[in-house]
């Protein structure tokens, strides 16, 4: 240890600890609970003197010992100052548990994060917040609903929290940014320089610019599968209410709903078509759990948290209404995806007639094609 190392702030030591491979939130929490200061904890790890709680390092017997040995080896040569320097230079904010800037939402959490990294303004986490979560593989119905709900909530001054994943998460952030009246909040499962999924890069940057992106993981951490359940608990903790828009029978969004229930946060779900695989989880929540309320739109959510919508956005339909013939096709399409084959059987029209009607409806924004299927669009802007 050089003399300059002794002058490093506690943030640097905890960042270094979090950078160790396999040091998850619960190991870190247990480690810091055993020590007065962070640099003491670092020295213990370097000695190989810390045994993580068994639940934090699952696996076959002997794995925990190997992990502890690997930490000691890595720590012996780890450049603590350099690691911290990189975070500072990248403009990453670091918040430790127990400091004044630690978000109030996590203070009484059963599983509080020991360290949080953020891009953007951490002080936007005030006021009422609603988490909008759901499946990555959503339908047009779910995407439109999430977009609209997030936009209307943001218009009402409510921050939307989500996870910057594909599908519903993207729709929620995009909707919140569209209104841009309340700062968007995101929690991700990778280092703040590892944009995952990559093609969400532009959205990621816009959320960071207008609101804040949180992560429990230091720079360079990959988006590995076991990060996401703990990311979900942070989303649940940050929100005053969690809305599941579309979820398959098993999915990360249902885990977020569980986390919310454990924390006493109300859970709401958007009902979907009974046959739609991507609404199975939501319908199940509504049917099985009496505490889950139905969320059909932003107003339902506002009522549930006891807020009156401050500004009612008048619904304006800017799309030209379809011609009577095209309206028949739109009605035959309904709200579930259909192929040209299905529509032929429902309307009895010829293929060219239908094709022309669909091209007109698509041009005016009433339907959207996807992989050979047609889906009805609720409102433009998504």
């Amino acid at each position: 240890m050089t003399s300059s190392d002794t002058e490093l702030p506690p943030e640097a030591w905890v960042t270094a600890l979090a950078s160790l491979d396999g040091m998850g939130p619960s190991s870190l929490r247990a480690l810091l609970a055993q020590h007065e200061t962070a640099d003491e904890a670092w020295r213990t790890v370097r000695r190989g003197g810390f045994s993580p709680p068994p639940s934090a390092v699952p696996g076959p017997p002997g794995r925990a010992e190997r992990v502890v040995a690997a930490w000691a080896t890595t720590a012996a040569t780890f450049d603590v100052a350099g690691c911290w320097q990189r975070h500072v230079e990248a403009g990453i904010g670091i918040v430790l548990r127990g400091t004044a800037s630690y978000p109030a939402a996590f203070v009484d959490d059963p599983l509080p994060p020991s360290i949080l990294f953020h891009l953007g303004d951490p002080d936007v986490v005030v006021g009422t917040r609603v988490a909008i979560v759901g499946t990555r593989d959503c339908t047009r119905y779910g995407y439109d609903l999430a977009f609209e709900m997030a936009r209307d909530l943001s218009t009402a001054g409510i921050s939307v929290v989500s996870g910057l994943a594909l599908g519903i998460d993207s729709a929620a952030h995009a909707g919140a940014l569209d209104a841009d009246l309340a700062p968007p909040i995101a929690v991700v499962g990778s280092g703040l320089d590892v944009v995952y999924p990559r093609r969400n890069g532009p959205l990621w940057r816009r959320v960071a610019a207008r609101g804040v992106v949180w992560s429990e993981y230091p720079l360079g951490s990959p988006a590995v599968a076991w990060h996401f359940p703990s990311r979900n608990r942070l989303i649940a903790a940050l929100a005053d209410v969690v809305v599941v828009v579309e979820s398959h029978g098993k999915g990360g969004a249902l885990l977020t709903a569980d986390d919310a229930e454990q924390r006493g946060r109300p859970v709401m779900a958007v009902p979907g078509p009974v046959h739609s695989p991507s609404s199975v989880g939501c319908n199940e929540l509504l049917a099985q759990s009496p505490a889950t309320a139905m969320a059909r739109n932003a107003t339902d959510v506002l009522v549930a948290i006891g807020l009156q919508s401050r500004s009612q956005r008048p619904s304006t339909e800017r799309r030209p209404s379809p011609a009577p013939d095209d309206r028949v096709v739109l009605d035959a399409l309904g709200w579930q995806p259909a192929t040209l084959d299905h529509l032929l059987l429902r309307t009895g029209r010829s293929i060219p007639e239908l094709a022309s009607a669909l091209v007109r409806l698509e041009h005016d924004g009433w339907v959207a094609p996807r992989g050979g299927w047609y889906e009805r669009v609720a409102k433009p802007g998504g």
Partner: protein, 505 residues
């Protein structure tokens, strides 16, 4: 004593004439073959010797040298056996030289003296510049297709010598009347419901457009694809001869009558190697599946399971209609003018048939989509989703329209294409589209708006225009193209579900 006999060897799908020179002289008894024979060809030594002895003839106890000229060409296979045997008998003065002048010999001999067919009889005979060609009875039908020669066949060396020297007449050749009838291809009437895939099949047949079907397992993609050849017109003589030539060289069983008149349908398994699909391999380059499918249909089931290199190597033949195969020592060109029909599951789990149904991981989906390069998917002018047919149509529904009645419309549409100087609209060049596929009034604006909405790319526009032309032909209207034709063409060219899933969100 020296004898020279005419024969031929195969390189790719073309025959090369070979002069078999046999020299029998005094010296230590021995038998050698020179002039670049490959292993099966060199083994002729043992077969020819046994065949001559079992046919009751004598083996010269002298020095025998066989030269296969020109020596620069590699000789492959056992097709020169018969010529070597006859040459040896002539050189040993057991057969008079006069009877083999202007006669070519092609065939493999058995140890019992029987004469056996070899692959490529048609191109081999075609390469020969003699009056008469003698082959195994099994090759006689296809050999006659070359048309310039008197074809003779004999079942054994003993019969052959008797007929050559005039002791017995040549056996009669099989007459076309004795041939069994063709088996009828599968009929489109078996397909119940599924109007859009049926229609896409009709458009594909009429315009020669490549077709991609995407749908969950059990939705009938293979069943549909198998019905495409039944919609296509029979091949004209030149095309039939070209296809027969390839089939002959590849050793594909020929139909009764020899000539491949019906468009071939090839469905290689997705585990097939690049050589099996493209061609090549071995000493003499063999045509691959794309060449065997020439003038017909190449059906790639489970398209996304094929090797990426195999799929990418399809692009050049798709563009040029030929495939050039080169090896260190030789190179050749195979015809590869095939219509590509692909079938695939919407995604690895197979449930992505409708939006929101897919349970694939991001990673699995990414790997699946990576196999379908954009340029390849772009080659498919027709891309339709196939969904499981409505149960009401499967059980007790009316049978669909029969292949025969659809084929009539296809023939009429192709006749319109022939007036434009092409076999089918898919072969029209972009420059010719302006002339042959003019737009009706007001349609240009519609296309512009589609381009602006990013519904179409500039290249996609040309492809859509070709399909629209076929649609106009099928409707018996012809150009100019109306908005409906273009809308339908766009609707029949959907983005594959896997790509849509990957780009979602």
């Amino acid at each position: 004593m020296l004898a020279t006999i005419a024969s031929a060897t195969l390189l790719g799908v073309t025959g090369t004439p070979v002069r078999v020179e046999v020299h029998v002289s005094a010296g230590l008894p021995g038998f050698s073959i020179v002039g670049q024979p490959d292993a099966p060809c060199r083994e002729a030594r043992d077969r020819v010797r046994a065949a001559i002895l079992s046919s009751g003839l004598s083996w010269p106890n002298r020095r025998v040298t066989v030269n296969l000229a020109p020596s620069g060409v590699r000789k492959a296979g056992a097709g020169l056996d018969l010529a070597i045997a006859i040459g040896l008998l002539v050189a040993d003065q057991q057969v008079p030289a006069a009877v083999v002048a202007q006669v070519g010999f092609i065939g493999e001999v058995g140890l019992d003296g029987s004469i056996r067919p070899v692959p490529g009889a048609l191109p081999l005979v075609d390469a020969l510049d003699v009056e008469t060609v003698v082959l195994a009875p099994g090759s006689a039908v296809e050999a006659q297709l070359a048309g310039r020669h008197v074809i003779r066949s004999a079942a054994s060396m003993r019969d052959l010598l008797a007929s050559l020297t005039g002791d017995q007449p040549w056996p009669p050749l099989p007459s076309p009347d004795d041939l069994p009838p063709w088996s009828e291809p599968a009929d489109l009437a078996d397909v119940r419901g599924q109007p859009v895939p049926r229609f896409a099949l009709e458009v594909a047949a009429a315009g020669g457009h490549h077709l991609l079907m995407s749908g969950p397992p059990g939705s009938g993609k293979t069943m549909l694809a198998q019905r495409l050849p039944g919609l296509l017109p029979l091949l004209d003589h030149d095309d039939a001869l070209e296809t027969t030539r390839v089939h002959s060289a590849a050793g594909v069983p020929l139909p009764p009558g020899g000539l491949v008149r019906r468009p071939p349908f090839r469905a290689p398994h997705h585990g097939a190697s690049s050589v099996a699909i493209i061609g090549g391999g071995g000493a003499y380059l063999q045509p691959g599946e794309i060449s065997i499918a020439t003038n017909g249909v190449l059906f790639l089931d489970e398209l996304a399971e094929f090797n990426v290199e195999v799929l990418d190597s399809l692009r050049q033949p798709l563009e040029e209609g030929v495939v050039r195969v080169a090896r260190a020592s030789h190179r050749t060109t195979f015809p590869a003018r095939f219509q590509l029909v692909g079938a695939m599951n919407p995604c690895p789990c197979g449930d992505g048939g409708s939006p929101g149904g897919c349970r694939c991981s991001e990673h699995a989906l990414a790997r699946y989509v990576r196999r379908l390069s954009g340029p390849l998917v772009d080659r498919f002018d027709l891309r339709v989703p196939v969904t499981r047919p409505d149960p009401r149509h499967v059980v007790g529904g009316e049978p669909g329209e029969s292949s025969a009645s659809v084929a009539e419309r296809v023939v009429a549409a192709r006749a319109r294409a022939a007036e434009r100087g092409v076999r089918c609209n898919a072969l029209l060049r972009s420059a010719e589209l302006e002339q042959h596929a003019p737009l009706a009034a007001g349609v240009a604006e519609r296309l512009e708006s589609m381009l602006r909405d990013n519904r179409l790319s500039a290249r996609g526009l040309q492809r859509v225009r070709r399909v629209a032309l076929t649609l106009a032909d099928l409707a018996d209207e012809g150009p100019p193209l109306r908005a409906e034709h273009l809308d339908t063409a766009v609707s029949l060219r959907t983005e594959p579900m896997a790509t849509a899933l990957r780009l979602a969100g």
